[in-house]
């Protein structure tokens, strides 16, 4: 873990760290825009992870500091990243061929909502005309695993972990692991299994902030 905190719950980097620690040696990993990109900051020892971005960059490394960037090289979030030895570039159709072909071991994405059935919603807000899909539907439908990182509740305090999504879904029944500021959860059909609670968070508090039944893992 990159930092410790006295504060209750996990911060953004800790949420990313917790999921990154699930990555297995040799996995090909796609990181979504926002908190998921923080996973590439996590030190996971000598495990060899290949980061893939939608724009066809296979084998990228850390974000480079200002002045050291290569302006021809960005990850899916537009950040100027580095390349690791053994990197390769393909075009967008080949990149999504890799995705649809099932070669991505895990995609980590942000979301507005996750359901007990493993559905998630991250492309369209309530009442919005259109939205922003990007590569999320391709990744969600085709990656071997879908992990989600999101704040446990909205700013109004409403649970983002729900019995069913209220927003239009990105894909159905695909999410297997969810990191929030309160802990690590796995959709189980009827609710969520608590795999781990963040420091200072009790089961009761997590349940109180979750609109679906929690089960001790």
């Amino acid at each position: 873990m990159s930092s410790t905190t006295e504060t209750k719950g996990w911060d953004r980097q800790q949420m990313a760290d917790r999921l990154a620690n699930e990555f297995q040696d040799g996995w090909i990993v796609n990181l979504g825009v926002g908190i998921p990109t923080l996973c590439s900051n996590t030190d996971i020892g000598d495990r060899d992870i290949i980061y893939h971005a939608e724009n066809g960059v296979i084998g990228y490394g850390p974000v480079l500091p200002a002045g050291q960037e290569d302006l021809h090289l960005v990850n899916a979030g537009g950040q100027n990243v580095s390349l690791k030895p053994g990197a390769a570039i393909v075009h967008h159709a080949d990149s999504f061929g890799i995705i649809r072909g099932g070669r991505i071991d895990v995609t980590v994405m942000g979301a507005y909502e996750v359901s007990a059935g493993g559905d998630f919603a991250n492309w369209k807000l309530a009442g919005q005309l259109g939205g922003g899909i990007g590569g999320a539907m391709d990744l969600a439908a085709c990656a071997q695993r879908v992990f989600i990182i999101l704040e446990h509740t909205t700013r109004k305090g409403e649970s983002r972990l729900l019995p069913r999504c209220t927003l239009p879904v990105t894909a159905r029944g695909v999410v297997t692991l969810v990191a929030t500021n309160l802990g690590l959860f796995a959709p189980n059909g009827g609710g969520f299994t608590v795999k781990e609670l963040a420091p200072g968070v009790s089961f009761e508090e997590a349940q109180a902030k979750t609109a679906a039944p929690l089960t001790a893992g």
């Binding site: 825009v33 724009n55 960059v57 021809h72 570039i89 159709a93 807000l125 899909i133």
Partner: protein, 245 residues
């Protein structure tokens, strides 16, 4: 007699783009984006355009020439892209209010499906099946098919009249090389369009200068190329442009 594909200015290279054209714009998060050709099209003024791209642009400052500006300039009838709104509620794309007021139409397409529809158009494949978007609002009322026990959505090829792309190196035969993340949609759009116009970063080399094994877009797909002049006439990436000031 080999054709001359090298044009002297962006204005000349886009002069005859007609009203109503369907134009694909390369680029993803900066690299590969045809800023100079887009700027020339803003000045040229063609109207009722259908614009195909990953996004309409304009979510970040400073703005560079993008489809959002063509929309603001009254040149666009429809966009086909993977974002019609920003995913972060606090961002707003310049395009979005035009869409919400019904002044511009939009077709929202998952990014991989967009890439594959362009590739299909270029490869003479009129339609294909994909697992993407099955079970979502985007698949409602549309044709699906069960193949080997899994449900797939039918998608159609997306041909274009014109492609605007940006390359790193080129030769006079029209062969193109893209550097790193610059490649993205550019080679696909080059195959899908009848007229391919390229802005090129490096000097355009004599035919035969590029290794035939390392060409990303063969010259048979390319009709027009313009070397990007140094700033202030030529537009580079946002950051390069800033540096050039």
């Amino acid at each position: 007699m080999a054709r001359n594909k090298v044009f002297g200015s962006f204005a000349e290279a886009v002069a005859d783009i007609p009203d109503g054209a369907t134009i694909a714009f390369g680029g993803f998060a900066g690299p590969g984006t045809p800023y100079n050709l887009t700027k020339a099209l803003l000045e040229q003024g063609a109207k009722r355009l259908t614009c195909i791209a990953n996004t309409t642009g304009g979510a970040h400052q400073p703005r560079m020439p993008d489809i959002g500006m063509l929309v603001e300039n009254g040149q666009v009838a429809k966009v086909i892209c993977a974002f019609t709104a920003a995913t972060r509620p606090t961002d707003q794309l310049p395009f979005t209010p035009y869409y919400e007021r019904g002044e511009v139409a939009a077709e929202l397409v998952p990014q991989g499906t967009l890439a594959e529809r362009l590739r299909a158009a270029g490869a003479g494949i009129p339609a294909f099946y994909t697992p993407t978007a099955v079970g979502t609002e985007l698949a409602e009322g549309r044709e699906t098919r069960i193949i080997n026990g899994r449900e797939y959505l039918l998608e159609y090829a997306l041909p274009c009249d014109v492609a605007f792309i940006r390359a790193w190196r080129a030769d006079t035969a029209g062969n193109l090389q893209f550097r790193l993340a610059q490649r993205n949609f550019c080679p696909l759009m080059a195959t899908a369009a009848k007229l391919v116009v390229v802005e090129v970063e490096e000097e355009i080399l004599p035919a035969g200068s590029l290794d035939p094994d390392h060409i990303h877009t063969p010259g048979i797909f390319v009709q027009r190329m313009v070397k990007i002049p140094p700033a202030p006439e030529g537009l580079w990436t946002v950051r390069r442009q800033e540096r050039a000031r």
